[in-house]
Structures are given as structure tokens and as C-alpha cells.
């Protein structure tokens, strides 16, 4: 039975290993490699030079060929097996066909040796090509993309929390005519995906003058039915007597929302905030439709555009993919507990 259900205590029950115990560990370890492996490989690759990226078979760690200064110029270093069988470390001056002229860097004045390129190996050391990260920010528009992404994510999350919590407050703490109708409407649209309203939404955004405007990306996303639903369910658990007490205490309805209900709904707000950050940071299709001017691209759109070019500069793309992954990984590492609780509780994604 223990293959099916957690037994009290550790794996097994002292009767040795069952085949299912082995299968479990194979699955867990294989799963770890398959789940984490690609991301780790991405990070390692992102530190490789274009030359190292083109190698097959690839190396695990980023290696770069060492260079040395010879007569004022940087020359690549090789381990060379000379005709007499001696092995020396030499710098390449120039190369003609399959023959390279090599010189000892400690004795640059000597006559260069002619070496077949098959008889030498580059001298390599682990070297992180951090220029993969710095150059896209300096030479390309990635700094702009990053700024746009941060702006969209932060603004959308703040507005989402504010408007959703106000609506959820009204829908959970007041009796009024039409309340059930509003709730029904919200639940009915929980499942309306963007792709179903893509065309008319485009025209609405165009009509409001928000094309090629980051607010055109932000506004359509903030009135999430999911957020209203999640917050309302939580606020229903706040006792009404607290609100009555506040009313006796001269609090206005706005103060009741702001000083009583909002602080008490903090756990649900935290879950929604985390999801909103992840959603908005990752958004793709809608920004792709709204933004056509390059300086307004978010990181996701910018990445896709550069990755879609004919001659993909993988060393930059990989580094920027890592950058796009960082906030989500931070959320994952520090706030995973909230997320799993949120999903298990509400089926939210």
C-alpha cells in the first residue's frame, strides 16, 4: 500500500526497498534534471562567447581562449606540439590556410615557428563573458525594454490591487440590488481568454488613443475577474461585526475599507500581488498587438523580436532571457509558499 499513500515516518517501513521506492527516486531525480536542467543550461550558456556557443560538442562551463600581448596586440594562446616533439605554449601571430605562425610570448623577437593547425590546442580557462549582459543594455535597447517591463508590471499591479479590492469589498460586505448579477457577470467572464476578444479590444484601445502607449498594455489587464473573485472570497471571512464596530467608531465607509478590511485582507492581497507581477511581467500576446514602436517594447516583445531576426545573436539573446527570468525566479524562491497555497486554494493561475 505504501506505493500509494504517505506512510507515517520515512520511505518504506523497514522491510527494505520496494520497486516503487526505486521508481520514485528515478522519477524525482530525472524530473529535477528535466525541470531545472534547461534553465541551468541557459544560464551557463549565457556566459559563453559566440565562439564557444558555436562549438559542438558544447562544454558545460563557459570557456574562453586565453590571449597574450605581443608587440602591443592581443594574440590567442595555444599549446603547440612542435616538429621535434616538444610541447610549448605559444601565441599565434597570423594564420595562412592550415599553417599558423606561432611565437613564444616571452621571446617575441625570435623567428616565428610554422605549425600545422592540427598540432595545436587553444589554451582555455573558465571565463564568464559578462559582456553578453552589459552590451545589450549599452548598445541595444534592452535597457528601455527592461524599464518598460518594470513600469507595466508595477503600475498594473498597483491598479489591480486597488480596483479589485474596492470592487471585492463592495461585493462582499454590502447587500444591494444587482449584486448577484454583478457576481454572475464576473464569474462568467473568468474564462474569457484574450484571444477571443483580440480584434474588438484592439479597436477599443485604438479608439481611446492608447495604441503604442504603455497604458494601452496596462489598462485592459487590470480589471481581472480572477482578482475580484479571489479577494471577495477572502473578504467574506472577515466578520461583519468588525465593520459594525468601526461604524460605531465614527469610521466612514471609505475608512472601513482602507483601515479595516484592506489590512485584514493582506494575505489574499499578497497572493494577488504575486500573481499580478508574474502575469504582467510575462504578458506576450497583448503587448505584441498594442506596441509597434521599438522604444515601447517590453522585455518579452524585445526578446522575441531579436530572437526572430535572421541572424540570431544567441549570446545576447540567452543573456537577456536570463534577465527576463530573474524577477520570476526571485518570486519563486522567496514567495513560493504563497503561490502554492493560492493555487491549491483557488485554482488560480
Amino acid at each position: 500500500m505504501r506505493w500509494l499513500v504517505a506512510k507515517r515516518g520515512r520511505t518504506g517501513d523497514g522491510r527494505g526497498w520496494h520497486w516503487t521506492d526505486i521508481a520514485t527516486w528515478v522519477w524525482l531525480i530525472g524530473g529535477t534534471i528535466l525541470m531545472f536542467g534547461p534553465a541551468v543550461w541557459l544560464v551557463l550558456s549565457s556566459f559563453k562567447t559566440p565562439a564557444a556557443l558555436a562549438e559542438f560538442p558544447p562544454t558545460l562551463l563557459p570557456f574562453a581562449q586565453q590571449t597574450v600581448e605581443v608587440e602591443g596586440e592581443q594574440k590567442p594562446l595555444y599549446t603547440v606540439t612542435l616538429a621535434d616533439g616538444t610541447v610549448r605554449t605559444m601565441a599565434e601571430l597570423r594564420r595562412v590556410g592550415i599553417v599558423a605562425q606561432m611565437v613564444d610570448p616571452d621571446d617575441p623577437g625570435a623567428e616565428p615557428a610554422r605549425v600545422n593547425i592540427a598540432d595545436r590546442d587553444p589554451v582555455r580557462e573558465v571565463d564568464f563573458a559578462t559582456e553578453n549582459y552589459t552590451e545589450p543594455f549599452m548598445r541595444f535597447d534592452f535597457f528601455l525594454f527592461l524599464r518598460n517591463s518594470v513600469f507595466v508590471t508595477v503600475m498594473a499591479t498597483i491598479i489591480t490591487l486597488l480596483t479589485n479590492s474596492m470592487a471585492a469589498f463592495a461585493l462582499s460586505k454590502y447587500e444591494f440590488r444587482g449584486r448577484n448579477a454583478v457576481m454572475l457577470l464576473i464569474i462568467a467572464t473568468l474564462m474569457v481568454p484574450l484571444s477571443v476578444i483580440l480584434v474588438p479590444l484592439y479597436s477599443v484601445v485604438a479608439a481611446t488613443g492608447l495604441m503604442n502607449n504603455l497604458w494601452g498594455v496596462i489598462l485592459p489587464t487590470v480589471a481581472t475577474p480572477t482578482g475580484v473573485f479571489l479577494l471577495r472570497q477572502y473578504m467574506l471571512t472577515i466578520p461583519d461585526e468588525l465593520l459594525d464596530a468601526a461604524r460605531m467608531d465614527h469610521a466612514s465607509e471609505w475608512q472601513i475599507y482602507w483601515r479595516i478590511v484592506l489590512p485584514l485582507a493582506a494575505p489574499a492581497l499578497a497572493v494577488l500581488a504575486i500573481f499580478s507581477v508574474v502575469w504582467r511581467w510575462n504578458d506576450f500576446l497583448w503587448p505584441l498587438v498594442v506596441l509597434s514602436r521599438k522604444e515601447l517594447y517590453t522585455l518579452q516583445i524585445g526578446l522575441n523580436t531579436y530572437a526572430g531576426e535572421l541572424n540570431v545573436q544567441w549570446h545576447y539573446i540567452l543573456a537577456m532571457t536570463v534577465v527576463a527570468m530573474i524577477p520570476v525566479v526571485l518570486v519563486f524562491v522567496f514567495l513560493q509558499r504563497f503561490i502554492t497555497a493560492g493555487i491549491a486554494g483557488t485554482g488560480l493561475k
Binding site: 500500500m1 500509494l4 499513500v5 504517505a6 507515517r8 515516518g9 520511505t11 520514485t24 522519477w27 524525482l28 524530473g31 529535477t32 528535466l34 525541470m35 534547461p38 534553465a39 541557459l42 559542438f56 558544447p58 498597483i158 474596492m166 470592487a167 454590502y174 457577470l185 464576473i186 467572464t189 474564462m191 481568454p193 484571444s195 477571443v196 476578444i197 480584434v199 474588438p200 484592439y202 479597436s203 477599443v204 485604438a206 489598462l219 485592459p220 480589471a223 475577474p225 475580484v228 466612514s252 471609505w254 511581467w281 510575462n282 506576450f284 500576446l285 498587438v289 518579452q300 526578446l303 522575441n304 530572437a307 544567441w314 540567452l318 527570468m325 520570476v328 519563486f332 491549491a344 485554482g347
Partner: protein, 332 residues
């Protein structure tokens, strides 16, 4: 809120605004009573919601019955059911080339195939993983996190990671090479590109469904298993007679959510293969996007008609879910 120094300072301007807002809002409350305040609380959300969800939802029908390349409705001539007729004009629905809009039917059948493979494989994998995570293993939270991790990644990141791994000289072919197999053109071969899209999608989303199934498994009372053990019930019978029936509500949620999302597949597949090679990974959402915006001969009306047909499928799936979950709820 007095907890957390950073949150305290970050929210300071907001708190100041809220306090300043109290004076006019108190006056508003005195003038209009509770009803006025309810309206005020609902207004921002419902206004945004109406403008950007409800109105577009209603306008979709108008777009699908008008023609031309303009987006402004007044500039669009009424064409009636022409777009629907064009989409449905087919000698043999199973053979896209016999259809007037062959691309639409290619997208339909690609999506259908994708849904079947992706949902099937993903549910199976998520189920096995959930069963394993429900066993007595050390560091449970860690393993759960491992399988959940890709769920948070953006589709662009997912697409690019796997494009890098599945490229001609990528890690995947290195693995094939090490195992003595022929390298495969994962993303440029019609057959493999489709299954690459399926596999990547399963990789990216299975963690989410694993969590839902795991929550269901953990909610099954342990005494039931102990009672079954006392009765000497064989393990597979316990699985079919206890675990599976009690997990049914969660399994249904997983199946229907996965179906609804698989029908909408776009982002990661688009980044991974761009719909290619040829049309082998062209799915419904990409068809809507491209016919509405990206193509040289854009046709918003056609895109709207296609999106309404897709919405119909989604509505049917959602109703199925409601019906099934009600029935499953009634059984107990």
C-alpha cells in the same frame, strides 16, 4: 499596516492619498448614503472591466459580420455571414486543402491534435508526479517546487530556452549523439516540431496541475487507506476504488482547465517555432492574430469570426466542466 519596514515606506504615498481622500468621500457618503459609496467602490473596476472586456465581447459579433481592413466600425461595410461562410466552405473538413480558407482548417486540426496529445500526456505526467509527491519522501516541499518551477516562467523564456536546447547543435542532439543516435532537426522537421511544441507545453504547465492533484490527494482521509489495509485490499484496487473516485473532482478541474488552455495555445509555440516549419505548428490563436493584425492582407472580420467559433468551443468546454463538477459533487 504596521508590519514590514519596506512595505511601510513603499505604501506611504498611497496611505497619504487615502487619508486625504477621506474628506471628500465622507461628504459624498453624507450626500448619497451607502448606495453612493457602493457605486463608488464598484466604479473603477466595473468601468475598466466594461470598456476592455464586456464591450469588446459584444462588439466581436459586429466585427465578424462586417468586412474590409478598417478597424473603426463605422467604416466597415456589412457583409452578413460571409466570413462564417468562407471559414466553413469545405468539401471535406478533414482535408484542409479542399477548404476555401485552408489555413483556418489547418489551424483547427493542428489545435485539435495538440489538445489531445498535450492534455493526455500532461494529465498522465501530472498524476504520476502528484502520486509520487504524496508518498513519504524527505524534503517534500523541495520536490514540489522543482516540478512547479517552470510554471512561472514567461512563454517567451520557455520558448527561447527550448529553442536553444533543440537547435541543430543543441543539448538535445548532444544527448542523442552520446546515446549513439542520429541527430534530429527538432524544430525544422514537420513531424518533430509538432511534438516539440507538445513536449515544451507539457514541461511548462504540468507543475500547476500537479499541485491541484496533490491538494486533492492530500485531502483524502488517511483512515480510508488504513481501513482498506485492514481489509487486505490489493493496492491497485485501492487506487481504483478509493484514490481515483475521491480525486475525481480535482481530476475534472485539471482536465477541463487543461483543455481550455490547450485550445488557446499560442505564446510558447509561437516563440519556439513561429508556426512552422510550413504550417505544422500553426494553431488557432496564431491564426486569429495573423489574419487580424500581422498579415499583409489583414482581415479583422475573418479573425473575429474565427475567434467567435473558438469561443463557442470554450463555452461548451466550460459548460461541460460545470455539468461534470455538479454531477461529481452530487455523487457524494
Amino acid at each position: 499596516m504596521s508590519n514590514g519596514g519596506a512595505t511601510h515606506y513603499l505604501t506611504a504615498p498611497l496611505r497619504w492619498l487615502a487619508r486625504a481622500a477621506d474628506v471628500p468621500l465622507r461628504a459624498w457618503q453624507r450626500m448619497t448614503g451607502q448606495g453612493g459609496m457602493i457605486a463608488l467602490f464598484l466604479l473603477p473596476n466595473m468601468a475598466i472591466f466594461s470598456i476592455f472586456v464586456l464591450i469588446p465581447l459584444g462588439m466581436n459579433a459586429l466585427y465578424s459580420t462586417t468586412g474590409g481592413v478598417e478597424f473603426f466600425l463605422a467604416d466597415r461595410p456589412y457583409v452578413g455571414g460571409e466570413h462564417y461562410a468562407r471559414l466553413m466552405d469545405c468539401e471535406n473538413y478533414l482535408e484542409p486543402r479542399s477548404c476555401r480558407d485552408d489555413m483556418f482548417w489547418i489551424a483547427v486540426w493542428n489545435t485539435a491534435r495538440f489538445v489531445i496529445f498535450q492534455v493526455g500526456v500532461m494529465t498522465l505526467v501530472a498524476m504520476i508526479t502528484a502520486l509520487i509527491l504524496n508518498r513519504a519522501i524527505p524534503a517534500k516541499a523541495f520536490w514540489r517546487a522543482v516540478f512547479f518551477f517552470p510554471v512561472l516562467l514567461s512563454p517567451v523564456v520557455v520558448g527561447l530556452i527550448w529553442r536553444w536546447i533543440l537547435q541543430r547543435q543543441g543539448l538535445a542532439n548532444l544527448a542523442m549523439f552520446e546515446m549513439g543516435l542520429e541527430p534530429v532537426n527538432w524544430l525544422t522537421d514537420r513531424f518533430w516540431a509538432f511534438f516539440a511544441a507538445v513536449g515544451v507545453s507539457v514541461w511548462a504547465h504540468m507543475g500547476f496541475y500537479t499541485l491541484i492533484l496533490l491538494a486533492g490527494l492530500q485531502a483524502i482521509p488517511r483512515d480510508l487507506y488504513e481501513a482498506a489495509e485492514m481489509d487486505g485490499t490489493p493496492p491497485f484496487r485501492v487506487f481504483y476504488r478509493i484514490t481515483l473516485p475521491l480525486l475525481m473532482p480535482n481530476l475534472l478541474v485539471v482536465l477541463v482547465l487543461a483543455l481550455i488552455r490547450a485550445v488557446q495555445i499560442f505564446d510558447e509555440a509561437y516563440v519556439l517555432t513561429g508556426g512552422g516549419p510550413g504550417t505544422s505548428t500553426m494553431f488557432m490563436t496564431q491564426y486569429i492574430y495573423e489574419s487580424g493584425f500581422a498579415n499583409l492582407l489583414r482581415n479583422p472580420g475573418l479573425a473575429a469570426a474565427a475567434s467567435i467559433l473558438m469561443a463557442l468551443v470554450l463555452v461548451v468546454l466550460t459548460l461541460c466542466q460545470l455539468w461534470l463538477s455538479r454531477r461529481a459533487g452530487g455523487d457524494r
